[in-house]
């Protein structure tokens, strides 16, 4: 949407808003509208040239002394528009999709509230066809989800069994839950782990069982990790493997952190594949064996070979590894 169109939309909402909030500070208006105070001041200045006519009393006016000295807004001569315009299709669709996203990660009673809010909003937006946009999240066990929401709402400690994927093990721990959020289409719990004495993220579909304890969760002084770049960011210390990818494994380049080095004529791509830890990389290579091979480092390459050889023994298969080059 063009900037002038955005400004028109904002100013049309400002007129009734300011009348309903007489004396509101400019900074607060800016925060409510999600813009800078300068943008609001520019809007107010322009609004003084608008109204139902061109004479005094027909043009919108502001108490300029209060605005300049105290930074607060008193609007005058705007009684001709005390209600905002309808929520437009565009605004409605954005909000409806956001509500559907909330719904996809909600549980229990929350669903009822979201559904009724959606119904009221859809009726107010008017004759819009239902928004052709949807958000899907992986389903998690509703009982576990419900337990976590219960602990969050009641401010209680949780006892849970959690399965760690890369180390492939289960462990029991008590946690003080802080919030639920989504990342990469999956639901996570951020909680203070009493075992690790630190903030941890737990993927809900990996929580094997959970129980609300009769203990109040405590406040812990911890700075949440900045997730604006996602969970996984490549740094100098990030483990990586040099690999060859068969065309069947090219999709890996879309899903994981990969630096493509060479695209061979035979369709084989050579790439640096980054992982959170070596365990994860080893499992990824085993999972896709036949479509991916490790060139470096040697430690990872021989771990993969050893793992596969031992595994094959159970099938009465003996396979010789390639000669060292």
């Amino acid at each position: 949407m063009s900037r002038s169109r955005q400004q028109v939309v904002r100013m049309l909402a400002l007129v009734p808003y300011l009348q309903g909030n007489d004396g509101v500070p400019v900074n607060e208006v800016a925060a409510e509208f999600g813009v800078t105070p300068k943008v609001i001041r520019d809007d107010l200045r322009l609004l003084m040239y608008t109204g139902t006519g061109e004479y005094a009393g027909e043009l919108i006016d502001f108490d300029l002394t209060a605005l300049e000295q105290d930074g607060v807004v008193h609007i005058r001569d705007a009684e001709f528009m005390t209600r905002p315009l309808r929520i437009s299709t565009r605004e409605g669709v954005a909000l409806i999709v956001a509500l559907r996203t909330l719904r996809a990660s909600a549980s229990g009673l929350e669903l009822t509230v979201i559904d009724s809010a959606l119904a009221k909003l859809e009726s107010a937006v008017g004759d819009t066809v239902s928004a052709p946009v949807d958000v899907l999240l992986d389903e998690v066990d509703p009982a576990i989800h419900g337990t976590i929401v219960e602990a969050l709402t009641g401010g209680k400690r949780l006892e849970m069994t959690y399965a760690t994927a890369s180390r492939d093990e289960q462990s029991d721990r008590d946690v003080d839950p802080r919030r639920l959020f989504t990342e990469q289409g999956k639901l996570y719990l951020e909680a203070w782990c009493l075992k690790a004495e630190d903030l941890r993220f737990f993927r809900l579909d990996r929580i094997v069982s959970a129980r609300v304890l009769a203990i109040d969760a405590e406040e812990h002084d911890a700075t949440p990790r900045d997730l604006s770049d996602g969970f996984f960011t490549v740094g100098d210390e990030t483990p990586y493997a040099l690999v060859d990818l068969h065309p069947r494994a090219h999709w890996l380049t879309e899903y994981y952190q990969v630096d493509l080095i060479e695209q061979g004529d035979d369709g084989v791509w050579r790439a640096k594949l980054y992982g959170a830890d070596w365990e994860w990389l080893r499992r990824l290579v085993l999972r896709n064996a036949g479509s991916i091979t490790v060139l470096q480092p040697d430690t990872l390459r021989s771990q993969v070979i050893d793992d596969a050889r031992v595994a094959l023994l159970a099938y009465d298969e003996v396979v010789a590894p390639p000669k060292e080059s």
Partner: protein
């Protein structure tokens, strides 16, 4: 310049909104300085563009005559009862979820659209206090360059053409009547009627290369009755598991497979026999192979064979041609 236009649009909206009667073009021209100062031709152009602009803003300008018996010149007005936001009678909790919803978008334009909607609700006295709820805080982000154009095409029903590149394949131009957009695993997909293939298809937005071209007017096709993006998106999901498999898993290991377990029976030596259901032999063999010696397939034979093949390739370090 832009400011002059904004001022003119605001005054046009206010004039049409407060008037109980239809305003003729002349009356409108007379009451707004910028129109008055224009030549008749320039005024005509500006007025037509401005009406279009109001339509884009979702403001319905009604055309009619004040007195049909007197062959009046047609005029314009905005019907206040239609234009104003009615009371929604939201409960405290409903207002709170709407407040939370405005924090979902990590996309400048859509965040601003949903914020404006929220401000309108606040302007009619809806009290928004998100602290009454402690819900999950999902985020919707979009880094696909084609997102904005596709969003616009989907919400306005405009056919599009774009170049689509699957990895390892030649990019191809595709023609689509988009029906809907869906986010799955943090990735955006557009589904619709594929004019080249003559059937419904789904496309990943991150694979769209370059500009999305529009190929027609808004509303130039109908979305089939009962179209549900969830159904279309189902092609993205694995089918429901049908086949039965028996695995031997070392105690405390194979977490991803244990989640699917129907039964777990300890058989001694720290080994559990685990029964699961699966839908794809390929997927199951991959998952089993990833656990190395900790998981062994007992049955069926074809999954056993697939795992043996996978592990053999891991030992020899060869890329299979099959």
């Amino acid at each position: 310049m832009a400011e002059r236009k904004t001022e003119r649009l605001m005054n046009l909206i206010f004039a049409l909104l407060v008037s109980r009667q239809y305003l003729t073009k002349d009356q409108i021209r007379e009451s707004i300085a910028d129109y008055r100062d224009s030549t008749p031709q320039a005024f005509d152009r500006k007025f037509e563009r401005d009406k279009e602009e109001l339509r884009e803003l979702g403001i319905n300008v009604e055309m009619g005559q004040n007195d049909k018996y007197f062959n009046d010149e047609p005029g314009y007005r905005i019907r206040r009862d239609e234009a104003e936001l009615p009371d929604l009678e939201l409960t405290r909790e409903e207002a709170a979820v709407i407040g939370l919803a405005t924090q979902v978008w990590e996309h400048a334009g859509l965040a601003s659209d949903s914020t404006t909607a929220l401000v309108k609700l606040k302007a009619i006295g809806v009290d928004v206090d998100t602290s009454v709820l402690r819900m999950a805080e999902p985020r919707l982000s979009t880094d696909e360059p084609s997102f904005d154009a596709m969003w616009d095409a989907v919400t306005r029903r405009i056919p599009v053409a774009f170049v689509y590149a699957r990895p390892g394949q030649e990019p191809m131009e595709r023609h689509l009547q988009p029906w809907g957009i869906v986010s799955w695993h943090d990735r955006w997909y557009v589904g619709g009627f594929d004019l080249d293939r003559g059937e419904s298809r789904i496309f990943r937005l991150s694979r769209v290369v370059g500009e999305v071209e529009t190929e027609g007017d808004a509303g130039s096709y109908e979305i089939p009755e009962g179209t549900d993006m969830k159904t279309i998106a189902r092609t993205l999901f694995p089918p429901a598991p049908q086949e039965a498999a028996v695995l031997r898993i070392r105690a405390g290991r194979g977490q991803g497979l244990r989640r699917l377990a129907e039964t777990v029976t300890p058989v001694g030596d720290g080994i559990d026999e685990v029964q699961i259901r699966y839908s794809s032999r390929w997927e199951l063999a991959s998952e089993v192979a990833s656990y190395g010696p900790d998981v062994v397939v007992v049955s069926p034979a074809d999954v056993r064979q697939a795992v043996i093949q996978r592990l053999t390739a891991a030992v020899t370090g060869t890329l299979e041609s099959s």
